[in-house]
């Protein structure tokens, strides 16, 4: 496995160069892989190329503010956990940011012990991927799973999903069996190959879908199957079981 996959990665975006440099020094010293960007567009360029576990975003920046930036980051890589830092917070902006899916809003100057503690907590949140072409279902699952403390990456086709599992280590991948550019078993195999430790949950309309492909995948080692319409609490307890260290039968990475 390449080293970039194992090092937790943090993106720091602040229009103040010295703030970027300082956070980079501190985080690098702690063993994170750190990239910095002075504005929204160059940050998005980095996000397109690399997955980040955590993004530390300054709120007030010229051109695109931290919240606008996060909305774009979320479209590209919804698994990135955002911590927004603002010199002048008010409740309305804070609520808007949290509503948009940002994880935390901190006041500047930041309490570094708190910030670093939060980065640590974020990295401890199990990374899961949902591979489904139903945008509404994805959005709902994102909210539900995020609320339960999972980092949630969304992919709407088999290709994107296969690319993603090669970039980051996932704890669980939820795979819709019917995808626009292929079927779920392709994704399942891609996960198996790139990310052998990952658990898989197959999402399907009915057991006989795709001429027994579901059964086939289960036989090959998929951990669970989830029938549409969803029983959310059953899904959550399955996820809980699979991500709890020691209980799923798979040792930690």
């Amino acid at each position: 496995m390449p080293t970039t996959l194992t090092l937790p990665s943090v993106l720091v975006v602040d229009d103040d160069r010295d703030t970027c440099r300082n956070l980079a020094d501190i985080l690098t010293d702690l063993g994170y892989r750190v990239d910095t960007a002075p504005d929204g567009p160059s940050a998005l360029e980095l996000v397109r190329r690399n997955p980040y576990d955590v993004a530390l975003l300054d709120f007030k920046m010229p051109g695109m503010n931290g919240l606008e930036l996060y909305r774009e980051v979320k479209k590209l890589r919804s698994g990135t956990v955002a911590i927004i830092v603002s010199a002048y917070t008010n409740t309305a902006t804070k609520e808007e940011a949290l509503g948009a899916g940002a994880w935390q809003v901190l006041a500047k100057p930041v309490d570094l012990n708190k910030l670093l503690g939060l980065v640590d907590v974020a990295l401890g949140q199990p990374l899961v991927m949902v591979v489904d072409d139903d945008a509404d279902l994805c959005a709902t699952l994102w909210d539900v799973l995020r609320e339960k403390g999972y980092r949630v990456c969304l992919s709407n086709n088999a290709h994107a999903a296969a690319d993603r599992v090669r970039e980051q280590v996932y704890k669980v991948v939820l795979i819709d069996m019917q995808l626009p550019d292929g079927n779920g078993s392709d994704v399942f195999h891609a996960v198996r190959e790139a990310n052998p430790e990952a658990h898989t949950i197959v999402i399907t309309g009915h057991p006989r879908e795709l001429g027994g492909l579901v059964d086939q995948v289960l036989k090959e080692g998929a951990d669970a199957v989830c029938y549409k319409p969803f029983d959310v609490s059953a899904l959550l307890s399955t996820l809980d079981r699979l991500t709890k260290p020691g209980l799923a039968g798979q040792p930690e990475v």
Partner: protein
Amino acid sequence: MLKLVDRFQRYQDLQHYVGWTEQDDHNVRAVAFMLAPHLNPLIDDFYAEIERHPSARKVITGGAVQIARLKGSLIRWIHELLTGPYDAGYVERRSRVGQRHVEIGLDQVYTNVALSRLRSGLVAALGATWTADRTALVTTIQSLNKLLDLDLALIEDAYQAEYLARQQRVERMAAIGQVGGGVAHELRNPLNVIKTSVYFLLNARTLTPEKRAEHLQRIERHVLLADGVITALSDFARMPVPDLKSVVVQRVMEEAVEANPPLDTVHVIHDWPADLPPVLADANQLRIVFANLVRNAREAMPQGGTLTLTGRAVDGRVDVTVADTGVGIPAEELLRIMEPLYTTKARGLGLGLALSRAILEKNTGSLHVTSQPGTGTTFTVRLTADGGK
């Protein structure tokens, strides 16, 4: 607010204005005892009327007990009105009525109409009990009217002064809040850098001598930055009196442009007629104004454009324009851009244009702006031409 001595002088001045004489004083005192038995019904009527008007009624919150006390005060007030002496203490007590009305939220109009009602009652009582000749009655009523009008003027004067003082206090508090927000942002950025550098120096697992030096220098630089914010604010608060001299505006503008060079993609046009007269201004202060305008123009044209700098003689004035072809300013922002601490930028205190305007006002000039979003902005600095009166 006026001091006691000033108030008394003002009262004496107003006495002259209405033509108050010893004779008026005498006339009023002479009827004081005559009116005494009629005062209680007048006062009952006074408060009965207040009961009928919710806006006046609402300020009496203490019920019957308070009304009884207020009636006692009103009796003393009328007694003092009729007998004087009209000295500094008298003026002070009248003024307190106006101040008190602001405190309790009683609109001045109720003082005016309540006094009108009291005046009618006093005149009616006088007419009913008058036994001497009618001419004397008329002069006595005139005296009483002057006295009541003077009292009304005193109360209203104090009311206005107190009202204004309160309003200014509210505005000052609002201004502090606004300054707080602007300063908070500008100071927190350097503080944030300092704090994180200190954290790194204290906690880094591996700290090379190069990194140590780099962070110490960074801390020093941001202490200076924070200091600069405070200097900018205090400079704004106490700007020195300008040293007005004959100044060639073109030269000052060239210096300002040189110190704040526009981007390479900006085409700069200088348009200064050879016969442009010099202006009367403080060159150092004028340079600050021009530098602000040139910097703003630069920030308005991140993609390049044309910056046109022009001087024109107009009726004993010199108009200097700084025109950019940048993003322009929306109409709703245009009204506010010269307010202190108003800013639409991510960085900066929002003092540039406010400072420029304040400087120009002290340099017998003025600052004007027109803008078209998407097309550009033109600032005009209007200065006084020197010589040739």
